[in-house]
């Protein structure tokens, strides 16, 4: 049984069969994965190279007793607490263009959830033409309505304000990162249900 008991049969079938790749298990990726599993997505491929550390706990879907754990292992553990039958492939690797194409080869939709701008650019270029949901511009506080989701072409969704940058006197905090992660998950669900990108 999926975590969402409100789903129609059609929704349950669509979300239960889609395979979603998540590139990065930080603030965006861990929270996006949480929303996806709660929404009924059951096949995830999560890739990250990092371990859970103190500074992650302000916004990422991890807990104090998981400090020092590999992020992909900790995330899989937490997702299993929502749906014990979820199929979560945990890939502990620092992705580059070649490995990203390989790791996400069988994914229907890929979520870009990296931290560094150059890593975001690398992934978008490496997976050009694939169905993807990208986030950028999530730093700081307030300005909730500046964060928006919109279709770029017919296979790509971009989420965020596209401007605010961590390191520009701004830091990443739970509310804005969480808004963007939830919007990424919402876009994935909309795509999986066949909604047009102008409705994401």
């Amino acid at each position: 049984m999926t975590a969402d008991t409100y789903l129609t049969e059609r929704e349950r079938a669509a979300l239960g069969s889609v395979r979603v790749g998540i590139a990065g298990a930080g603030g965006l990726g861990s929270n996006c994965a949480m929303h996806l599993v709660r929404a009924g997505v059951r096949h995830l491929v999560v890739a990250d190279f990092d371990v859970v550390c103190e500074s992650n706990l302000n916004r990422q879907f991890y807990f104090r007793d998981q400090l020092g754990m590999r992020k992909v292992e900790a995330l899989r553990t937490n997702l299993f607490r929502i749906d014990p039958e979820a199929d979560v492939r945990a890939v502990d690797v620092r992705l580059d263009a070649e490995s990203a194409r390989e790791v996400f080869a069988d994914c229907d939709i890929v979520v870009e959830a990296f931290d560094a701008a150059e890593a975001k650019a690398m992934l978008v270029a490496a997976l050009a033409g694939r169905r993807m949901v990208v986030a950028s511009g999530i730093a700081g506080w307030g300005r909730s309505n500046a964060i928006r989701a919109r279709g770029f072409g017919d296979r790509l969704v971009v989420v965020g304000d596209g401007e605010s940058e961590v390191g520009d006197g701004l830091s990443p905090h739970s509310p804005r990162v969480g808004i963007a992660a939830a919007m990424q998950a919402n876009a994935v669900v909309a795509m999986a249900l066949g909604m047009p990108l102008d409705m994401v």
């Binding site: 990065g24 930080g26 603030g27 965006l28 990726g29 959830a113 990296f114 931290d115 560094a116 701008a117 150059e118 975001k120 650019a121 690398m122 978008v124 270029a125 050009a128 990208v134 986030a135 950028s136 511009g137 999530i138 730093a139 770029f152 072409g153 017919d154 296979r155 790509l156 971009v158 596209g162 401007e163 605010s164 940058e165 961590v166 390191g167 701004l170 990443p172 990162v177």
Partner: protein
């Protein structure tokens, strides 16, 4: 000429999409460009894309944070 940039009319002297990004101080290595419905990933060759009067252009900057 006048193009539609992020949904609003904008006057520009740029002859190509690459020149338009330069005019705006946008780094093409850190941007996704949508030009008349086509998507160009970061690092795409935008200097070979002539800007046309009335064309629709959108740019999404990739910034740090996640």
């Amino acid at each position: 000429m006048t193009i539609t940039y992020r949904g609003a009319p904008v006057e520009t002297e740029a002859r190509t999409v690459a020149e338009f990004l330069a005019e705006r101080g946008l780094d093409p290595a850190r941007a996704i460009v949508e030009y008349d419905g086509e998507v160009y990933p970061p690092g795409a060759d935008l200097s070979s894309l002539p800007l046309r009067d009335g064309a629709a252009l959108d740019v999404f900057r990739l910034t740090a944070g996640g």
